[in-house]
């Protein structure tokens, strides 16, 4: 199809889809209405399991199966991206690591200062996921990003040293495996897959919500390792992998 033909075809079809959407939207309950039957049940269930962050309760306790699969998607995608970004037959990996570019001294200093802060905030977001906004995924992303401040402030070599990839490769897989294994532990201990098997504790305290914080930590480990591995593969492609000189 030529470009104009494709565009016209799409616009006509999109108009049809838009009409479908509009007629459906007109039948929806008004924006901001108090009709949320699932919400009412989910809040009650979260309070019953002493989980202050209801989103955390839905994510890991009530609809934990969704999250198990979500983490498996992450695992599969990181493994898949790693496989797709492996050096191909005619490429090799540069062993000399480029030390990149000039970065302002002030930027470097800020990077150094913010690295530990970001790590701490990331850990806080993971650990308090069942009490305050956040959780394993959000904290894990912050942790994974924090390490890359080293590259961004011009220390790719330092990053390469503090980031032994095989460790994080395994860390990601073991985090995901821990999630699945906790699911099976639910069968053994409570007779229900992904059942909440730990004591619920007191509402609002650090040790509460049963297994939710444990799931948060498993996911945090997986996501942080996953982000590190993923970005490492992209960094390798961008900085190190080169086509073999034809000899």
């Amino acid at each position: 199809m030529s470009r104009p033909a494709r565009l016209v075809l799409f616009l006509v079809a999109a108009a049809g889809v838009a009409a479908l959407l509009v007629v459906a939207f007109l039948d929806l309950p008004p924006f901001g209405s108090p009709f949320h039957p699932y919400r009412d049940r989910a809040v009650a269930a979260a309070v019953a399991h002493a989980t202050a962050n209801v989103v955390g309760s839905v994510t890991f306790d009530q609809r934990g199966l969704d999250t198990l699969v979500e983490e498996t998607i992450l695992l599969g995608s990181v493994a898949g991206a790693a496989a797709l970004l492996r050096p191909s037959k005619e490429e090799r990996e540069n062993t000399t690591v480029p030390e990149g570019g000039r970065v302002l001294e002030a930027t470097k200093l800020t990077g150094y200062l913010l690295l530990p802060v970001t790590l701490l905030v990331g850990i806080d977001v993971v650990v308090h996921g069942h009490l305050t906004p956040g959780g394993g995924f959000q904290g894990g992303v912050l942790l994974g990003t924090a390490v890359h401040l080293l590259y961004l402030t011009g220390h790719y070599r330092a990053l390469d040293r503090v980031r032994p990839l095989p460790v994080f490769d395994s860390g990601e897989a073991l985090g995901a495996a821990a999630f699945a294994a906790l699911g099976i532990a639910g069968i053994i201990a409570a007779g229900a897959f992904l059942g909440n098997i730990l004591p619920f504790g007191t509402f609002g305290e650090l040790l509460s919500a049963g297994t939710v914080p444990v799931f948060n930590i498993a996911v945090g480990v997986e996501v942080a390792s996953g982000v590190i591995v993923l970005l490492a593969k992209f960094l390798e492609q961008a900085l190190r992998v080169q086509r073999e000189a034809v000899s």
Binding site: R6, L9, F10, V12, A13, A14, A15, G16, V17, A19, L20, L21, V23, A24, L26, D27, L28, P29, H36, P37, Y38, R41, A45, V58, Q62, R63, G64, L65, D66, L68, V69, T72, I73, L75, G76, S77, A79, G80, A81, A82, A83, L84, R86, S88, K89, S170, A173, L174, A176, A177, A180, I184, G186, I187, G191, A192, F193, L194, G195, N196
Partner: protein, 615 residues
């Protein structure tokens, strides 16, 4: 008190997808340190274990459904916050097919990809987990998540041969189109949730009970179906299929073609029967699937016959067969569903065996171009017999299971659609079978004219530069590649000859179409048994039609091979077909923008069609 099977059986459903996930994690964690044989062994054993779990679950679900509430959130007074896994015989049967095909694929790949680390095996196991979960879950959003798992892993598997330009290109088109379809599905889920506040299939059905067929439901139905139908490769959502299946590694093609596209059909009709059957009038939906099924079947068959790239030919034949699945399931009754399910199972065996044969050809001769391979296989021993046989079986040769499914389905669509639907069945299966036989005769017997050097720059994908998947071409076919082929063909044969198969499929189909029973059993109410209907099986007319389509397949193949010897009148009659064929081929442009435009055309047309029928 709800009659429940053995309580231990309720733990089988989650194990069926958790076990492969855990093993995949282990493979990824230890992959570098394990020797290749251990990786192969572990992956194969896991696939076998999943198949075993599926068999146990199938036995437990034989007389009904096994319901598992994840997290132990069993409904109280019909409401809950949890996710149900609902295993009914048809769903578990699909999971079992997936596990068996995975087993064959993994055995076949023992000699494959010498360089790859454990990534391929881990991804394959995650793919199996995704497929298994998709058919077992009883929750719409959970279906979406498993669908995305299947999708994400499948994109990576499709592009796995990174040295092959077509491979990465096909994977990207697949990824974009399939993801967009999934997002439309999610929009549909969002609209349904806004209206009902529910996500479980059974809970949605309860919340919608007594609702008039309004515009919102039409939109939600079409949007939810879009993702599933993209996976199912229904025209005009099918464009990614040939591009992806022609370029993926052979063991992956086998799973895509054998079961993944059929799961799209499964999702479509699962959602219809449980959630939408009471609120959308059946005649409109039936008509929709008859029309779209027939168009899909014809487009797939025509494109299939026009291919010279062996794997592309098989991919288009899969699209043609998906059209036939849609016709059969689209009758919406137990008989048609029984025929469709048998057809899917038989097709899985035959088509997978054919894909494995194309893999053997690729790794032995370094090409999958039928013209280029003319007569190259003269000295081969077993495949020259097996490949035409599989072609005949694809056309419906009795007593293969595919033929029985075809016979049962034909009878059902004749009642629902009319004689033309039967004609589509016969012609389409003959054309796809004929294309396979043509290729087999050309490659293994050197039938027809020897190739002339084809002019460079022709606008078609030939398959001469396809990258072989082993280091160095094979001198002889190893046993690990031959055994899965023979096993798959024998399995397809057994489906048609073992007594009781038809009865079992009929029972499964009547459960599948009984949406009210599904809802009641899931939410813990006693479920009335559906009124028993008589199972069909082989009938005289069915055998006759199947023999007819097999004979026509042979005739098509010979006519294509010796077209210069056909009578002049026949050739003149065929001449106007050429520009039409060129036009249809030109639409399959490999351009992702085109594919997305067609995706929206499909959604709009589906919506208009259904709105006209329902409102």
């Amino acid at each position: 008190m709800v009659p429940s099977a053995d309580p231990a059986a309720t733990h089988l459903a989650p194990l069926a997808f958790t076990v492969p996930i855990i093993v995949a994690c282990l493979l990824l964690a230890l992959g570098r340190r394990l020797p290749r044989w251990a990786v192969d062994g572990l992956a194969t054993t896991t696939a076998a274990a999943v198949a075993g779990i599926d068999v146990l679950l199938l036995m437990a679900a034989r007389d009904g459904r096994v319901v598992t509430w994840a997290g132990g959130w069993t409904p109280v007074d019909g409401t809950t916050v949890g996710i149900a896994l609902v295993a009914d015989p048809l769903g578990v049967g699909a999971a079992l097919i997936a596990a068996i095909l995975m087993l064959c694929a993994l055995v076949f790949s023992w000699r494959y990809f010498d360089s790859a680390e454990a990534h391929l095996h881990a991804l394959m196991l995650l793919f199996l987990a995704g497929m298994t979960g998709f058919v077992l879950t009883g929750d719409l959003f959970n279906m979406f998540v498993f669908f995305e798992l299947m999708g994400a892993v499948a994109y990576a598997l499709t592009g796995f041969k990174i040295e092959d330009p077509t491979s990465v290109h096909g994977a990207l088109s697949f990824g974009v189109v399939n993801s967009l379809g999934a997002y439309l599905t999610l929009c549909g889920i969002g609209i349904l949730y806004a209206r009902t506040g529910e996500l479980g299939l059974a809970q949605l059905a309860v919340a919608l009970r007594g609702n008039p067929p309004e515009a919102l439901l039409v939109t939600a139905f079409v949007l939810v179906l879009t993702g599933w139908l993209v996976k199912a490769a229904m025209v005009p959502f099918h464009f990614w299929t040939a591009d992806a299946e022609a370029v993926a590694p052979t063991p992956v093609c086998l799973l895509f073609s054998g079961i993944m596209v059929a799961l799209g059909v499964y999702g479509t009709f699962r959602v219809y029967h449980v959630v939408f059957a009471p609120v959308l009038p059946a005649p409109g939906v039936q008509c929709l699937f008859l029309v779209f099924g027939a168009v899909t079947a014809v487009v797939g068959a025509v494109m299939c016959f026009a291919q010279r790239h062996l794997k592309r030919l098989l991919a288009y034949s899969t699209i043609a067969h998906v059209g036939l699945f849609l016709l059969a399931f689209g009758t919406l009754d137990a008989a048609g569903t029984e025929g469709g399910a048998l057809y899917v199972a038989g097709h899985a065996g035959i088509k997978s065996a054919l894909f494995l044969m194309s893999g053997v050809i690729l790794n032995r001769y370094g090409s999958v171009d039928e013209i280029d391979l003319h007569g190259r296989g003269r000295h081969a021993v077993l495949l020259p017999w097996l490949m035409p046989l599989a072609g005949l079986a694809l056309a419906g040769l009795p007593p293969f299971g595919l033929g029985m499914g075809k016979a049962v389905a034909e009878e059902a669509v004749a009642t629902a659609g009319g004689w033309w639907a039967v004609a589509v069945f016969v012609l389409v299966s003959a054309a796809t079978g004929g294309a396979v036989i043509r290729a087999a005769l050309r490659i293994y017997r050197g039938t027809g004219r020897a190739p002339e050097a084809s002019p460079p720059g022709t606008e078609e994908t030939s398959g001469t530069d396809e990258e072989a998947e082993v280091s160095g071409l094979l001198q002889r076919v190893p046993l690990t590649m031959l055994v899965p082929i023979v096993v798959l063909l024998l399995g397809a044969l057994a489906l048609g000859v073992v007594p009781g198969v038809s009865e079992a499929f009929h029972a499964a189909a009547s459960r599948f179409t009984d949406g009210a029973g599904y809802v009641a059993r899931t939410l813990g109410a006693p479920a009335p048994l559906p009124a028993p209907t008589a199972p069909s099986g082989w009938t005289l007319s069915g055998v006759a039609l199947s023999l007819l389509s097999s004979a026509m397949a042979l005739a098509f193949a010979l006519a294509a091979l010796h077209h210069d010897r056909l009578p002049a009148t026949l050739r003149a009659a065929a001449r106007p077909v050429a520009p039409v064929l060129r036009g249809v081929r030109a639409l399959h442009s490999g351009h992702v923008g085109d594919y997305v435009a067609w995706l929206f055309v499909g959604v709009a047309v589906l919506g208009a069609f259904l709105a006209a029928g329902a409102l």
